[in-house]
Subunit: 222 residues, 2 copies
Amino acid sequence: MPQPSAPRKTLGRPPRISREEVVTTARRIVDAEGVDRLTMRRLATEIGSTPMALYHHVRNKEELLVLLLDDYATRTLHRPELPAQPRERVVVAAATIHEALAACPWIVEVLTADDLMATSALWFVEQIVDGLVACGLSPERAVHGYRAIWYYTAGEIVVRVTAARRRTDDDRPTYRERVFAELDPSELPRLAQVADQWSPLTAEDTYLDGLRALVDGLLAPR
Amino acid sequence: MPQPSAPRKTLGRPPRISREEVVTTARRIVDAEGVDRLTMRRLATEIGSTPMALYHHVRNKEELLVLLLDDYATRTLHRPELPAQPRERVVVAAATIHEALAACPWIVEVLTADDLMATSALWFVEQIVDGLVACGLSPERAVHGYRAIWYYTAGEIVVRVTAARRRTDDDRPTYRERVFAELDPSELPRLAQVADQWSPLTAEDTYLDGLRALVDGLLAPR
DNA sequence: GCAAGTTTTTGTACATGTAAGGAAAGTAGC
DNA sequence: GCTACTTTCCTTACATGTACAAAAACTTGC
C-alpha cells in the first residue's frame, strides 16, 4: 500500500496557488488598504503569479468578493444568546446579521446576492424562519417573512452605504439638497414641512425600529 | 432693443451638444439595445462627438444613469387614483413606485441612491409621508416610516434583479443549490424542511404582502 | 521513452471609464 | 486689430477586468 506522501493521483499540471491562498491574500489587501486597492493584478503580484492564473481558482472578481464575505462572516458572525421568546428571537437574529454586515461596508456589491448564503449565516436564517413558525406562521409564510426581512436589511445597508460613498466622492450640493430647496409647499406640504430636518432624520439609525415594525406586521393576525 | 436671435450673452466656446441631447441619445440606445450597450464611446459617436466631451454635460456615467432614471420616472410614473383611506394610500403609493421601478430593471446601480429623488417621484413620497401622518404618526416618525418602506422596496428590487442577472450569467449550479443540498437536518431543521421548496418560494412575488406587513407594523400602537 | 490527455499558468489583446492637458471657439475690454 | 479670459471640446494615456490561445507541467497507457 504505497501512499507515503500522497502519491499525487491528480491529473494535469499541479497548481502553484490555491483558492484559499487567493482569498487569504485578498483579505490581507482589503484589511490593510481597503477594497479599492484590491485589483486582480495587485492580487496576482502579491501572490507571485499572474492575473489570469487567478481565474482558475475564482470565477471572476465578484465571486472573489463573495468568498471574502463568506470568510468574513465565518470569522465574525458568532452565535449570540438568543431570547426565548420567538418574536424577539427573530429580531435579534436579524439584527445580529445586520450589525455584522453594516460593519463591513465594502461588500455592497455582494450583498445583493439573492440570499445570505454564507454557511455561517444559515444558522441565523434558521432562527428567523423557526421563530416565525413558532409564532404561528406556516413554513411557507415564514420563508416569505424571512425574505421580507432580508429585503429590508439588505436595502438598508445598500442605501446607507452608497449614500455615504456618494457624499465623500463629491462636495457639490446634492441633488437631494437642490430638490428640497425648491420644494413647492402648496403642492408637497408634508415634504416642505420636514424639508429642513430631512437630512438629520434620514441619517438616524432606525434599522431596529423598522425591523420591529416589519416583524410585528408579519406576525399580526390578518 | 436688439435681441432678434438671442444675441449670445454667454461666455466661452458655444456648446455643440447639450445635456439633454446626451440623455435623449442615451435613452435611445438603452431602449433599443439594452443598458449593456450604453458606453461612453458608443454614446459619443452616436451623438457625433468624443467621449470626453460628454463629461462636460454629465459628471460621470453614474450620473448619466441617474438622469436616465429620472427621465424614465417622469415619463412613466403617472399619478394614480389613490384610495381615501390613508393606510391604503401609503400602500398604493409605494406599490406604484415599486411597479414602475421593477419594470425597468437596468437601474439597479442607480436605485441605491439614498432616496428616490426624481422630481416626479416626490409626489409619491409626499403621499406616503402624509398618509402615515394621517394615521397618527408624528412627522418625524412618518419620515422614518417612509425610509423603512424605501429600504424594503429598494432591497426587494436590487436583490431580485441581481439574482436574475446571476442566473442568466451562468448555468452551473448555484452556490445556494449546493448549500441547500448539503443541509444538515439535525442542525438546521426548518431550512431542511423547506429546502426543496426554497427556490419556488423565494421566486414568488410577495412584495405586496411584505409591504402591507411593514405598513401595519409601522402604524400599530406601540 | 513517447504520444495523448488534462489541468494550470502565462502572454497578449481588448473594451471600458475617465484623468490630464492643451486646443478651439467664442466674448469683453482695449 | 489684439490680448485676456471663459467655456467647450479633443487627444492621449492609464488602470482595470477579463477573453483567448498557447505554453508548461503533470499523469496515464503504451
